[in-house]
């Protein structure tokens, strides 16, 4: 081990800033998590604040909230819907783009499709209002002008989660496709040539060559996304949700923001944060273990 380091010490030296960064900014600040078990007092600071009595007081407070089950349910539902509906479209888009013969058209489509990734949710909310608002939105205008009645796209609890998932897919599809495009570009072209010689149609080539070779990337993406299952997208939902759809829009992060951060209840906020992290960690390990069954694990 030491010999290896000695031999390649230049590389290790280059790695050093990164390590120092993690030690200082990631692990060093981690001791602050103890306020989840304390009655954090701003004036006294982290160490001098008294321990919570009982120690798990803030966890108990969260679980005793009548909203706890709703909030956890919404978080998981929205997250899983985002994974289910958000994983496949980028693969399809990537294959479509890579199969497109016209280079000029391909570039335009690719750029246009990943552009929304750079828009903030506030801007997207503005766009959504312009299209979907019941009183002023474009789509409802068309509907009423064609003789139909207007529809509350943004304020109907029955379809709110669909709006959230839909806009999330719209925003992220182009960006996520990039990684698949890279993976497709890395596929050995001789495989395709062999396929052509053996008489494979274009669809068959996609099915028997492209898709199986994208499996690794796909599973990697899946593992990464399960890691963030407890984050259902705070900024998106905080911006878009109104009180009319509260029962389906309140997620862990928005609840913590309102109860914890805005009310200076930092102990509660970090207790729920800690809970989230632990669950996410378990999920990542779990998915990885599952993935290793197909020899595709991340580690």
């Amino acid at each position: 081990m030491i010999r290896v380091i000695k031999w390649n010490w230049q590389y290790y030296l280059m790695l050093l800033p990164c390590l120092i960064y993690y030690v200082i900014f990631k692990y060093g600040t981690m001791y602050g998590v103890i306020i989840a078990f304390k009655d954090y007092n701003v004036k006294k600071g982290i160490l001098a604040s008294p321990w919570a009595d009982p120690l798990l007081k803030h966890f108990q407070y969260f679980f005793s909230s009548p909203y706890a089950s709703v909030v956890i349910g919404n978080t998981l539902k929205i997250s899983f819907l985002k994974i289910i509906f958000g994983m496949i479209p980028p693969v399809i888009l990537a294959i479509l783009i890579s199969e497109c013969g016209n280079k000029w058209f391909r570039k335009i489509v690719q750029t246009a499709s990943y552009l929304p990734h750079f828009l903030s949710w506030v801007i997207i909310y503005g766009i959504m209002i312009a299209f979907f608002s019941q009183s002023t939105g474009l789509i409802n205008r068309w509907l009423t002008e064609m003789g139909f009645s207007s529809y509350p796209f943004l304020t109907d609890p029955a379809h709110f989660q669909a709006m959230i998932v839909g806009t999330d897919v719209w925003k992220g599809v182009g960006w996520s496709a990039i990684i698949y495009l890279a993976a497709i570009a890395g596929i050995d072209t001789t495989l395709y040539e062999a396929g052509i010689i053996d008489g494979c149609s274009k669809l068959k080539r996609i099915w028997y060559i492209t898709l199986p070779l994208l499996r690794g990337t796909f599973i990697l993406q899946l593992i990464l996304r399960t890691g963030s299952v407890m984050d259902a997208g705070f900024d998106q939902i905080y911006v878009i949700a109104t009180s009319q759809v509260l029962s389906v829009s309140e997620i862990l992060d928005t609840w913590v923001f309102k109860e914890g951060i805005q009310r200076m209840n930092y102990s509660l906020a970090s207790a729920v944060g800690l809970l989230k992290s632990v669950i996410s960690l378990i999920l990542v390990f779990g998915t990885n273990k599952l993935a290793r069954k197909w020899d595709e694990g991340l580690w």
């Binding site: 230049q10 030296l13 800033p17 004036k43 009548p66 609890p157 309102k258 951060i261 805005q262 200076m264």
Partner: protein, 527 residues
């Protein structure tokens, strides 16, 4: 070989440190540097004419106070702030007002600043809830110990009776202030009423009928059905209906002839919800009413989409806003109405009015008590803004420049409109509301009076402080969610009693009412 090693070493070091340096440059280093530079800039700007020992002398004598507020107001540069200069000349206190976001951003920004240990000397408490958090953390100065030094202020609010509404749990953390008016007002377009042949409605049934006409009879005459009879800014808009039934869209405590009750427990609440639902079912309510905010609603009014609205005079009749509202249709003739009568035998009432002063109250950092100079400065400032000279300054600006006194009456000049947009922030103990508003907004005088004279439900909700482990936020959320459900038909009103039962069993509403009664008795609001 040796040379190769040396090159490798240099390259590795170079890379390492360039990474480290860029890292610093982007995150940690530059803001500090910027502030240092800015400070240096400021110092040179302000200190050009003064000699060194002179400025040292003034900083020794003059106490500095930082005041923080959360409003969307544009402040002038410190050098151009005539008000702060005047205060400095008058009482020798160097006040600096800083703005920290607006609305709920203010709460977040203020909390972040306070958690960082950087507590402003004085700041506006965002809400009772937030204030209680600060008090629990020992951040706020209790003013009860200093009342003897604040005699002018005590006199200004009218003695102990005037102080009481500012107390919280019996203690005085808020700087006492004169009561401020409620602005909410019901408005209707008279020119549209004439067009569809309707009168100003006085009862609920009439209001519903008028709303129908204003929706379906094409009052703007463009041949397209694109108007709504009724709108408001947020769910509160339905208080135009509910408060006449003794209810409201939120849980509000008030005193009825049977003692303490909540708007949710009003025997006529169900009737009120039915009425709201009839409005909604008739298709006359702006479907985005819950999502509206005052600016959005004003835009819709200006675009001739709304016939009646639950709004407020300030957003409507102040000249700048009136110009916006009549920009598209100069003939738009908005007038205000009396509250709609629910014909239940009770006085029609519109909206609620808190018996407790909560909005925009100032509080003082507890740290100020450790610094005698600062404490003295705070007391001086509080007494100054209620003195005749000081109060005129924070209300109207400089005499001769921003206003003139003619026959004992204050008359504003044009400069008041342009130069004094921010000075109301300094009205720490409020103002003589009626005089102030009629000087400042003579164009809106009628609507201001109408808003002040409107009957409202007087609430005590803000005087009740619930224990830490009570899920108040969740309860309010559940109430809001369900009231919306009842009004928009996602939950049948026949389940209303069940809803109250749920509040009792899952959210401890019964316990809340009990605690509220005890506390209100303790504070002398009821017997």
């Amino acid at each position: 070989m040796k040379r190769k090693k040396a090159v490798a070493f240099l390259m590795a070091m170079g890379l390492t440190f360039s990474v480290a340096l860029t890292g610093c440059g982007n995150s940690g280093g530059s803001p500090d540097q910027e502030t240092v530079e800015k400070q240096a800039e400021k110092e040179t700007e302000s200190g050009v004419s003064e000699s060194d020992d002179q400025s040292a002398k003034t900083s020794e004598e003059i106490a500095e106070l930082e005041l923080v507020v959360g409003h969307a107001v544009i402040m002038p540069e410190k050098e151009d702030n005539f008000l702060e200069k005047k205060i400095r000349d008058a009482i020798g206190v160097d006040v600096t007002m800083n703005i920290l976001g607006a609305g709920s951003d203010y709460t977040t920004a203020l909390n972040a600043r306070i958690s960082g240990g950087d507590i402003p000397d004085m700041f506006q408490a965002p809400s009772t809830d937030a204030l209680m958090q600060y008090v629990e953390n020992g951040l706020i100065l209790c003013l009860d110990d200093y009342l003897d030094q604040l005699q002018p202020l005590v006199d200004w609010v009218g003695g102990e009776n005037g102080i009481k509404p500012n107390r919280i749990g019996g203690k005085l953390y808020r700087v006492p202030k004169a009561p401020q008016g409620i602005y909410d007002l019901l408005v209707v377009r008279q020119d549209w009423l004439d067009k569809v042949g309707a009168e100003v409605p006085t009862t609920m049934e009439e209001a519903l009928e008028v709303a129908r006409k204003l929706t379906f009879d094409d009052p703007d005459g463009n041949g397209v059905q694109d108007t709504y009879g009724f709108s408001g800014s947020g769910l509160f808009g339905f208080n135009a209906i509910l408060t006449s039934y003794g209810g409201a869209t939120t849980n509000e405590l008030y005193l009825s002839d049977k003692g303490l009750t909540s708007t949710l427990l009003s025997p006529r609440m169900k009737e009120g919800l039915e009425m709201c639902k009839r409005f909604v079912d008739a298709g006359v309510v702006d479907p985005d009413i819950v999502a509206n905010n005052p600016e959005v609603l004003r835009d819709k009014m200006a675009q001739c989409k709304i016939g009646m609205a639950s709004y407020d005079w300030a957003n409507m009749y102040k000249q700048i806003n009136w110009d916006l509202i009549t920009a598209v249709d100069p003939g738009a003739d908005w007038i205000w109405m009396n509250p709609w009568d629910a014909q239940t035998g009770e006085t029609p009432r519109y909206h609620i009015k808190s018996a407790v002063n909560t909005i925009g109250s100032w509080v003082i950092s507890a740290d100020v008590a450790d610094n005698p100079e600062k404490l003295d400065a705070v007391l001086k400032l509080l007494n100054y803004v209620v003195s005749e000279e000081g109060n005129r300054l924070v209300c109207y600006g400089e005499e001769g420049r921003h206003y003139n006194v003619e026959d004992g009456m204050i008359v504003k000049t044009d400069l008041m409109t342009t130069e004094c947009e921010y000075i109301w922030l300094y009205q720490i103990a409020s103002r003589n509301e009626m005089e102030y508003l009629s000087v400042k907004f003579p164009e809106a005088e009628g609507s201001i009076k109408a808003a002040m004279e409107t009957d409202r439900i007087v609430t005590y909700t803000e005087a009740v402080i619930m224990p830490e482990d009570f899920h108040m936020e969740d309860m309010n959320k559940y109430i809001e969610e369900n009231i919306i459900g009842f009004i928009f038909g996602t939950r049948p009103i026949s389940e209303y009693d069940q809803f109250i039962e749920e509040l009792n069993t899952s959210f401890g509403f019964g316990e809340y009412m009990k605690i509220a009664e005890e506390q209100l008795k303790e504070q002398g609001y009821m017997e």
